[in-house]
């Protein structure tokens, strides 16, 4: 029954994506529907394709700072069982320049992703086992699931109520964001027994469904991580788009920041960009 419900949601989402419509929360929506609105926004599933330049800044407790820059492209297909294909390549620092990954994600949320990795040290595109959902994303405090692989069906949800967001001061630019915005406060409980967290919260902005903030709790109920996201409306269709994603590990004091720049939607990217042979054409 649960699977059928999610299948319906996926079909609904596919319909919305084809129409290019940005979903928004509406009065009377169930908590699962609200979460699905956020799922569409997080992965910009209403767009056909997406490219951006990314900066990943890693700051440890001693304030030592490392920075990675990359290029990302994604195409949303939703056909032949494939949900989307994603390509990420590092452009700096020189030590990791040329490392690239290609990921194919399936419509079936139970089906593990396909992944290839191009390593300049081997000059080879090598199929890899996809990283575990709880593994760190590129050495950051984010998990793979938080940035790339999350599906609504991975958790069960409870609507706590509507609350005013207290605001968040960004480590990246020092600005305080979204103080006083009305948000749906939702609690999410993982279905997987093996996950590190017991629950997490989603602060979904009431006006547009964007998730502003998340708090993640360990098995003892202690909050150990927070995630903040800022947004801008991008492109002629005014797609709500994540600009800054900021994560703090409250146990270690580590901070990770992803900044998306030069974002472009719906450029008519060809599917063959997201192929293994294209990965094998890497120069570096």
């Amino acid at each position: 029954m649960r699977k059928t419900r999610w299948l319906l949601l996926i079909v609904m989402a596919a319909g919305m994506a084809l129409a290019g419509e940005v979903p928004k929360p509406k009065e009377g929506m169930s908590v699962d529907q609200l979460i699905d609105v956020w799922y569409q926004i997080q992965f910009t599933r209403f767009a056909r394709d997406y490219t951006s330049n990314n900066k990943v800044i890693l700051i440890d407790r001693g304030k030592a700072r490392r920075e990675r820059q990359g290029y990302r492209a994604r195409i949303i297909l939703q056909q032949h069982g494939i949900d989307y294909k994603d390509y990420v390549a590092f452009v700096s620092p020189a030590a990791v320049k040329g490392v690239a990954t290609l990921t194919w994600s399936y419509l079936d949320p139970e089906k593990e992703r396909e992944q290839w990795l191009y390593l300049p040290s081997l000059k080879k595109a090598r199929r890899t086992s996809p990283a575990n959902d709880d593994d760190s994303f590129m050495g950051s405090v984010f998990t793979v699931e938080e940035i790339t692989s999350w599906r609504p069906s991975y958790e069960t949800y409870k609507l706590v109520g509507v609350k005013k967001f207290p605001g968040y001061k960004s480590e990246y630019d020092g600005k305080t964001y979204y103080a006083g915005d009305d948000c749906y406060l939702i609690e999410a409980f993982p279905r997987r027994q093996t996950t590190l967290r017991s629950r997490r919260t989603f602060w979904l902005r009431k006006s547009d469904g964007c998730c502003l903030f998340q708090e993640v709790f360990d098995k003892n109920g202690k909050m150990y991580k927070t995630l903040f996201r800022s947004y801008q409306l991008v492109g002629p269709n005014s797609y709500p788009t994540q600009i800054i994603i900021e994560g703090k590990d409250l146990r270690t004091g580590d901070v990770s920041i992803v900044v998306n720049e030069e974002i472009k939607f719906d450029q008519g990217l060809k599917e063959n960009i997201f192929s293994v042979e294209n990965l094998q054409k890497m120069k570096w």
């Binding site: 020189a94 030590a95 593990e112």
Partner: protein, 454 residues
Amino acid sequence: MRKVSFALVLLTLAFSAAALEKDKLTLSTYFNAEFGFHLNEPDQLMKKYTSLQLKGTFDFTREVSLYFNLKKYYDFVYDVAGQYKNGSAKTATNAGNLWLREIFLDYQHQPFFLRAGRQQVVWGTADGVRLLDCINPADNRYANLDDAAEYRIPLWMLRFEFTPITDGNLQFLLIPDHEPNFNAGYGDVFVYRVANRPPPVLPPWVTYQIVDNLPADGFDDPDFAVRWQQVLNGWEYSLNYKYGREFYPSVTVRQIPFPPPAPPTPWTLQLTRNYQRTQVIGASFTKAINTGRLSGLTIRGECTYTLDKPYPTGADGNATGNTTQNTFAYVLGLDKYLFTDLLASVQFIQYINQDDQVASGHLLHPATLAPINKVENMATVKLSKDFLNERLKSEVLAVFGGNGDWRVSPRVSYEVNDRLTIYGGLHYFAGRANTLFGEFEKSSMIYTGATLAF
């Protein structure tokens, strides 16, 4: 020389154009210093290596781009370590134009792609075992302990690709360039047993002559190769064919004239190296298991059937003849993340020869001159795990030969900042002196180094 001139013209063009359009040029520089010491005698130096590498790209247009990779290195060990001072010092620096690692022009116009220039082309799915990875020869002077992209010798070639369907690709390679493997010489640090013997001491009336019959470069009798690759229902597979030459020589020894005259009439002992025509027919596959209890497991494999692969023949350590065999080899590998972020990778490799005995003697391994069996097995195990937000990386690779020989190579690296990485590790070899890993037992090495990239 003409090729190097062509490369220099391309580089000049790119840098001249870059003066006008700087945003189309990207450049990265890598400086590496590494010290290696004998594991059993840590005060004895084995490696004092310094390299400077410049990589760059220039986009002439959306469809045409240039890539270059220039690397110059020097290993001071031959200047400072008494043990190696009498060696051939072949390992000391880049020979010939090997400093010009890669330079090629890309032209992309869907569904066509052309890459012309000096380059590496990598086939196959195996790690560290070169079956289908047969397009480029190898620089074996550091016993293939460094990265594959560094030990492959790039070749001048044309790579043409046609993509008639999404996720299906036909590749054609035309290779007018022939380079043999490059091995360390007698007295160097990592010397295969076949070369680890001093030149023969001959009476004064005998001249020793080496003739290297390297095939002529050019389009008269080039190598070529074809590959079809496709991803179909989650299965990635390739079908491969190469018409080429073996990268190691078949050696014949002749006395000229024969029979040699009585002393003191002079005569010549001539050693001739020929590079045998071979054909490689191969295939590879990978499959990631997406559902069920084995979800997250990646299975991969490749196989080759080589026609006319050359082997020396004779007795252990003493090659007296040559033969060719049709041989079959395959690799099966499994990869999986365990305990969230511990990547485990295992491979089983098997080589199957037609016969282990021929009329001229026992089949011998080309590198060790040890008798080889009709079926030879190998296995590899690799574990890797990152710590401190991927700042500290660790891995251990173990390779088991089929004759009781093995090698284990643990390594750690630490990213000090965006530019500087320091690393250290060891390569421990064990086994009988006539085995692939045992021959380096006395060359087990502990090493440390740093790479500065900017």
